[in-house]
């Protein structure tokens, strides 16, 4: 079961995804990247029905890029999340809806504010300071509740995400492989280790 985690800090957003791609009892890959960079400052993490996830994520990625080339301006995380949510909402009432849950993490360069959006397959979207999708949410949300505060620095966030990952390793029955951790801030998106 895919686990997506996101934490908003003082001037950055930290995201973590598990990297195991498994079907039923077999683990096919332990280095899967469950995210797509929509533009220089926005990461979209996806989880859900295999196939639907990558298809939808790449569709959003291409549409965001098209908007930017057409209008010569980078989309804000808020605008990207609204577009994504609408696409999911339209898909819900179609013949075969996308079954994809997302975390959209981005840094708004104009207002210099980091933002995180929790979007689910029914087309609901909320802006949150921290959040998770999947079974991981049951274990990690309470930890993030306890230790998160708005002025979180990158080091504190790294410690927090490590706490969450360790908790999953201890208490979650599935053996989730290593987590891929990315940060989005004013300098763009980069991968880090904790």
């Amino acid at each position: 079961m895919d686990c997506l985690l996101g934490i908003v800090g003082k001037d950055f957003v930290l995201t973590a995804t598990d990297t195991s791609a498994a079907r039923s009892i077999t683990v096919m890959k332990k280095t899967e990247d469950k995210s797509r960079n929509l533009n220089k400052h926005i990461i979209m993490l996806y989880a859900g029905e295999p196939g639907d996830t990558v298809h939808f994520a790449e569709y959003v990625q291409r549409n965001v890029r098209f908007y930017e080339i057409k209008n010569g301006i980078e989309l804000t995380p808020e605008a990207a999340s609204k577009f994504t949510r609408r696409e999911l909402a339209n898909s819900l009432r179609s013949r075969k809806p996308y079954s994809v849950n997302l975390l959209l993490a981005g840094y708004n360069v104009k207002t210099e504010v980091p933002q995180l959006y929790w979007i689910d397959y029914l087309g609901s979207s909320v802006e949150i300071p921290f959040g998770a999708h999947g079974y991981g949410a049951y274990y990690c949300l309470s930890i993030m509740d306890r230790y998160h505060h708005p002025e979180l620095t990158l080091d504190e966030a790294k410690v927090l995400i490590k706490k969450c990952i360790d908790e999953l390793k201890t208490r979650f029955t599935m053996n989730l492989a290593d987590f891929k951790i990315k940060v989005s801030d004013k300098d763009g998106i980069r991968e880090i280790t904790v």
Binding site: E58, Y59, R62, N63, F66, I69, K70, G72
Partner: protein
């Protein structure tokens, strides 16, 4: 003779002309000049900027547009038609990336634009696009610069250097005389500016230059840089005029 055969598009004239397409080419010839020059590892687009009316915001009048990260386009003719064609091309660039997971090659997108222009010469109730385009770029993972041209009939071909729009004949003749193979970047830019100066009387403030280098970086030159190049060209012209005068002067004394 032309009278009755130029109304509908889908009618050939007895001597094999599609008059609507030829009239579209006339519309292109009315548009402001655009020139493209291929260098050794760069490609340059230059356009004549129409004089901006006093109350108009110059930033909203753009004749060089980006189709994708690695492809740029300039056009001559009806700007509104260009807007529609550019939009279709941009969608195709992203659609190609989505389905094939590769950026488009310059030839592919040129072929796509040309085939759209051709479709509109063979349908009922529509008129051809009144624009010719110059498309520049580098194919993904390649260092070879590309320059293509399309016109309202849907023909496309690759060029070493070309000009479209107003006085394109004059500019093209100038390019034929002065083009050299494997020009370095500065020379290519200079050639583009020189050829535009043949038709743009008012100088640097009505010229816009964009340069693309093999790392697929598109650089729109600042007006100061263009002015510097123009003054350099004029200085060289004066030097050559001086040299030509001197021998006759010395023979007199």
């Amino acid at each position: 003779m032309a009278g009755s055969y130029d109304r509908a598009l889908t009618v050939f004239s007895p001597d094999g002309h599609l008059f609507q397409v030829e009239y579209a080419l006339e519309a292109v010839r009315k548009g402001t000049c655009a020139v493209g020059v291929r260098g050794q590892n760069c490609v340059v687009l230059g356009v004549e900027k129409k004089s901006v009316l006093k109350l108009q915001d110059p930033r909203t009048v753009r004749k060089i547009v980006m189709l994708d990260d690695h492809i740029c386009m300039a056009f001559a003719g009806l700007s509104a038609d260009a807007r529609v064609l550019v939009n279709k091309a941009r969608i195709e660039c992203q659609s190609h990336r989505l389905t094939v997971e590769d950026p488009v090659t310059v030839e592919y997108i040129t072929r796509h634009i040309a085939s759209i222009q051709q479709k509109y010469t063979q349908s009922g109730g529509v008129r051809p696009f009144g624009i010719s385009t110059l498309i520049i770029g580098f194919d993904p993972n390649e260092k070879i610069p590309r320059l293509y041209q399309t016109d309202p009939s849907g023909i496309y071909s690759a060029w070493k250097a070309n000009a479209i729009g107003r006085s394109s004949k004059t500019v093209l003749e100038f390019l034929e005389k002065n083009y050299k193979e494997d020009l370095p970047k500065d020379e290519a830019v200079k050639l583009a500016v020189k050829s535009l100066l043949e038709v743009v009387q008012t100088g640097a403030k009505n010229i816009e230059i964009a340069v693309m280098t093999s790392d697929s970086v598109i650089k729109n030159m600042e007006i100061e840089e263009v002015e510097a190049i123009v003054s350099e060209i004029e200085r060289q012209k004066e030097e050559e005029a001086e040299k030509k005068k001197k021998p006759s002067g010395s023979s007199n004394s």
